[in-house]
Structures are given as C-alpha cells and as structure tokens.
C-alpha cells in the first residue's frame, strides 16, 4: 500500500487552535505525524523589554485565553519570590478560588470540545452551557469573563465578601449538579466508551519518558500535581491527586471529569476557610534576581523562568507551557492509530497552541 500524506489543520473543524499535522497514512492507518507550529507566535516574551515589570502581569495573563488567571498568578508569584514579598493569606485564598474557577471552566470547555470531536454535538452545547455559569461567577467576582485582571504583584485587586460568597456558593451547587449530569454521560455512556476506551494508550513509563504533564500524566498512573508543592492556599486545603491507570483516552477524559469536582470542592473549602485581612501589600523597588516558578494549570505544569536585574524592565522571561510538554506524547499516540481517531487523540492532550507559541 502506497503512503499518502494528508494535511490536518491548521484550520480544521475539530481544532480549536491552529496546529498543522502532516499525517503519513497507509490505507486508514497513520504511520507518522509531522507537526508544524508557529502560526500564532506573538513574541510576548520579548515584551518584557518594553513593559514595566508590574504592568507585565497583564501581558502574562494574555499568554492564554483559558488559563489566563494562572499565568498571571505564576508571574506574580515569581516576582514576589524574587522580591521576597509576603502575600497576605486572604489574597492566597482568593488566588486559589480564581485559579480553580479557571480550571473548572477550562475542563468544561475541553469536555465540550471533546464531545464535538466525537460528533456528540448536543453534549458539546450543554457542556458549554454549564461553563457559562462559571464565567458568570468569574465576571461577578473579578469583572472579566476570560481575562480576569484580578491578580497583581503583592496580592489581588478585588475581594469576595458577603453576598458575593453566598451567591458563588449557590451557583457552585447548580454547577455541580449540572456537571454531574454531563460527566455521567462522558463516564458512563456506551457510545462514548466505545469511542474512547483503548484508544491512544500511553503507558506509565512512556508518559514519564516523554515528559508528559497534567491530566495526560495522571491518566497514565503518575501521581504528580504541582498544587502538591504548596503554592497559594493549597497547603491549607484538603486535596488528593486524581489518577487513573489505564492511560487511554477514556482515562484522560475521566481524570478531567473527576478534577472538575475536586476543583469545585476546593473552591468551596477556600471560600469557607478564607481568613479575614488585607488582600494586598504595597510593593516598592525593582526586582533583582532569578527565579523558576512552577504551577499547575488545567493542562498541566507550567514553568516560568524570570530573570531581573534591578531595573523596571525584566532582563529575560521564558515560559514552558503544558501543551508544549505534551506534544511529543501526542505524536507518539498518533503513530499507528486509525485516521478517524486523530481528532480524538489530538484533543485528549487538551492542546492550547496559543500558550505554546506565545
């Protein structure tokens, strides 16, 4: 059978973002996938030379439209570590709440895209309907729907008090109920199982060797979550890492479904246990030093490397995003798969190409 190359993307009905794959196929089997990325490179890392270090948090937030808050938070944590700024405990709890809200809306978005990738359109629409409730909480508490703009160096810019906590709690109950209905379909429906079970199996050793992060790694049985290392308010909250051992597309989907409830629980815990007090400290001076900051985004671990030289502009700034770490695994999954499984396999790593290319 002669080999054929089928171009896949950068514009494709199932792809939310532009990645191009040259699929080398023999009949219906994919032999090899050759990726090419770089369609949405914006040169954000270079911008540190122009933007003031305190204004750069707005740029950091715009690295990704889905995990925007955690990008801003990681950047702030990095600068706070360099400048040795003690962030007030209430601000740490608020960061945790918004970080987890961001995870919930990202996972619901992914579930919708996954359903769309499988051809399950009604499930796609209803996943996004639930996500809309999360966006409403985000808008009411931070002022923005996708770009939160509530994190700053030294703390946060808004507080959640009184009725806002009560409203958020009430909305979380509705979200949890509706999410449970939707995830029951993802976990229990036979047609979904048939589409995902045994598709794109990644063993524990392969996941470790390929340097996977986030739900992809946890679905292969590795218990690794950057939230365990204890940033923000996570050390004070009760959190168990969610893992699965199967390593297939179904396991990756199930890990994300379970993480939704974990995040909802963490938000509730944080809102209940949030201590009273200041939400920010005044920051004076310029950062001088170097730091590597790691946090857990919805897609996995993000690594920030920040180098400052005591001036208002940073000297060097570098981001390693979770999708970049998961791309080698995606190429491995695509080798030998059926052509019809390509959209599902590309989506199971939850690709965020704008993050990757910055």
């Amino acid at each position: 059978m002669a080999r054929t190359i089928i171009p896949f993307g950068p514009q494709h009905p199932v792809l939310p973002e532009p990645i191009h794959l040259d699929l080398v196929v023999e009949d219906e089997k994919v032999i090899e996938a050759r990726p090419s990325i770089g369609f949405v490179h914006r040169g954000l890392e270079k911008l540190v030379e122009k933007k003031d270090f305190s204004a750069f948090v707005y740029v950091a937030e715009r690295i990704c439209g889905i995990c925007s808050f955690i990008h801003g938070q990681t950047y702030c944590q990095g600068i706070e570590a360099i400048m040795d700024i003690p962030v007030p405990p209430r601000a740490q709890y608020l960061r945790t709440v918004w970080g987890e809200l961001s995870r919930v809306h990202s996972h619901l978005l992914w579930l919708g895209l996954m359903a769309d990738g499988m051809g399950f359109e009604s499930l796609f629409m209803h996943s996004w309907r639930v996500r809309e409730r999360v966006l409403n909480i985000i808008e009411a508490t931070t002022g923005g729907r996708v770009i939160f703009g509530s994190c700053k160096i030294g703390g946060v810019r808004r507080d959640i008090v009184g009725d806002a906590i009560k409203d958020t709690m009430a909305a979380l109950d509705i979200i949890e109920r509706e999410t449970r209905e939707i995830t029951q379909v993802f976990i229990g429906d036979n047609s979904v199982k048939k589409r995902l079970r045994g598709v794109g199996v990644l063993s524990r050793q392969e996941a470790l060797d390929l340097g996977c992060v986030g739900p992809v790694l946890r679905a292969s049985g590795v218990s690794q979550d950057m939230r365990q290392q204890g940033y923000a308010a996570y050390p004070q909250l009760d959190m168990q890492v969610i893992t699965r051992t199967e390593g297939d597309s179904y396991a990756r989907c199930a890990v994300r479904c379970d993480e939704l409830f974990q995040s909802l629980g963490l938000i509730r815990q944080a809102l209940v246990e949030m201590p009273a007090g200041e939400i920010e400290v005044k920051v004076t001076g310029f950062p001088n030093g170097e730091v590597i900051m790691r946090t857990e985004q919805p897609r996995g671990e993000v690594v920030y490397c920040i180098k400052a030289n005591g001036t208002k502009n940073l000297q060097r700034f570098r981001v390693r995003t979770p999708t970049f770490a998961n791309l080698p695994a995606m190429l491995k999954l695509l080798q030998g798969c059926d052509l019809a499984d390509v959209p599902v396999l590309v989506l199971t790593i939850d690709p965020c190409i704008s993050c990757t290319e910055r």
């Binding site: 003031d52 009411a140 508490t141 002022g143 923005g144 806002a164 229990g188 429906d189 036979n190």
Partner: protein
C-alpha cells in the same frame, strides 16, 4: 441504563427554557462588578497625569497645559488601573459597553465628551 442517559438528559433540556438570553428581544443583563468601558468626569479631573503613567497599554494621554484628556478606546483593556490610581474620582468603569459606531472619532474620549 447507560444507553439512554443522554436521551433522558436531552429530553429534559428540550423541555426547559433556553439558557441563552433571547437577544434582541431581551437585552443582556449587566453583571454588577463587570469591567466595562471607562467613564471620564471632566469636572473632577486635576489633570495630574497619574492615570496616563499607570496605564499598562498607554491608552490615556493627558495634556496638563491644555487641560485635555484623551482615551484611545481601542487600546483600553478596562483593567481599572487608572480608576484605582485616580486621586479625585474622575474615572470610573461602567458595567457595560457603548453602542457600536461607524466613525473612528467616537473611539476617542476627548475632553470628557463621550461620543
């Protein structure tokens, strides 16, 4: 009953009210606390230029001599940095956005006259 889970849900959802706002019959309800467009009150302004200095995108220009405040709405990201730093409460954020326009001039808020 794993075969009919989605069917039951779809039936349930089909019988409930649509969750989306029925625009244009029903206008979008602004959420309190939402960061919308910047509102400038000329009477309060001392033209101290603090807002222009703190704006992360350089959307604000203030001419102290001519008492002129200019906002480039295409650059404004509604971050509220200017609002937080204004010592005289001359800046605030509304919860909504202005109506669409076909002229470029209306994107600039000049001298407090919001086109």
């Amino acid at each position: 009953m794993p075969y009919f889970q989605m069917t039951r849900l779809a039936l349930k959802w089909a019988l409930t009210k649509p969750p989306t706002t029925q625009y244009p019959f029903e206008p979008r309800r602004a959420i309190a606390g939402s960061r919308g467009e910047l509102i400038f009150k000329r009477d309060n302004c001392a033209y101290c230029t603090l807002c222009a200095k703190r704006c992360p995108t350089g959307a604000i220009e203030v001419d102290r001599a001519q008492k002129r405040f200019t906002l480039d709405r295409l650059r404004c990201i509604s971050c509220a940095c200017c609002v937080e730093n204004c010592p005289r409460d001359s800046l605030s954020l509304s919860t909504g956005h202005g109506t669409p326009s076909t002229t470029m001039e209306s994107y600039f808020c000049d001298q407090g006259v919001k086109a």
